[in-house]
Homo-oligomer: 152 residues x 2
DNA sequence: GCGAAAGCGTGCCTCGCGCACGCTAATCTG
DNA sequence: CAGATTAGCGTGCGCGAGGCACGCTTTCGC
């Protein structure tokens, strides 16, 4: 293994993290999508899009938040019409959270904006490089040091 | 340009972001380095390592925090002996923040742990892939959609 | 020189978060 | 089948972090 590759990637990842968590970026990606969508509520929206209809507790486990925090954020999204609650038909205690059509469209629009932005930047790259990067990044995330099940 | 590359990278980046901001990861990387180093104070420590000795206002601009927030976090780090304040010899109003030897060692130790973790994961990769990934990731961060000066 | 501006630290207010509580419903047990 | 335990939900409450405004000192422009 080449010494220094880990250092280089660590430094670059740090830079990426700093850049991508900028408030300005989030504001651009969600501009015009309503007051309710911000850095706090979007993870709930996005997580729910990923998991599909589920309980607040499950969603909290998925995105690493306390159950009550999810409830409060979901309140805001529900009020904005992006999310709705339905009693779980299989369990009368449980309440299922699910996106409304407007909520799904919000998530789609945001992801579309991000993808377009990435695609624009990559248009200057040789196509082979873009494909390689996509493939290697995917592998890094799936199997790499941040994978769900630590390999060691 | 291949359609879908932007989508794929966007999704993978989202996954990476979720994984890498997990509290558990940060706890592992800073374990045993003292109570004062946490998710709040580390950006100050790390930012100061990058910029070198500078004022609280400058550091705030660098890492995207309010001046007063930097001051408060710096207080904790100073109390732990990781950072010290010196009056700016060139400007009697200003106070320069700088890492102590212990502070620099803390940053080094953390980065070393992250680099080692990455290197371990990459040891299973063909060396050419690892080098390609490092290079492409660097280019993506430097010139990509999150670069400092937007290209469009 | 003198007013405007910059830099710093601190008091106050606001807001988000997690814990604890009370409630309802499902599940377990004898 | 009835009582007890557990799981799920929403909400009141205390705590901690962040931003604004203020007062102070020093520097800069005219």
């Amino acid at each position: 293994m080449t010494n220094g590759t880990g250092d280089e990637i660590a430094e670059t990842l740090g830079l990426l993290l700093r850049r991508s968590t900028r408030e300005q970026l989030h504001a651009q990606l969600t501009e015009g999508l309503g007051e309710a969508v911000d850095q706090l509520t979007y993870p709930v929206l996005s997580g729910l899009a990923r998991t599909g209809s589920c309980s607040a507790a499950d969603l909290g486990r998925e995105i690493g938040l306390d159950r009550t925090t999810v409830t409060r954020r979901a309140d805001r999204l529900q009020q904005a019409g992006l999310l709705h609650r339905t009693p779980d038909p299989a369990d009368a205690r449980a309440t299922l959270l699910a996106l409304t059509a407007a909520g799904e469209e919000t998530v789609r629009a945001t992801r579309r904006r991000l993808a377009a932005r990435i695609e624009t930047s990559l248009s200057a790259w040789p196509e082979a490089d873009a494909r390689d990067f996509s493939r290697l990044l995917r592998r890094f995330v799936e199997e790499g040091p941040f994978a769900d099940a630590p390999s060691h």
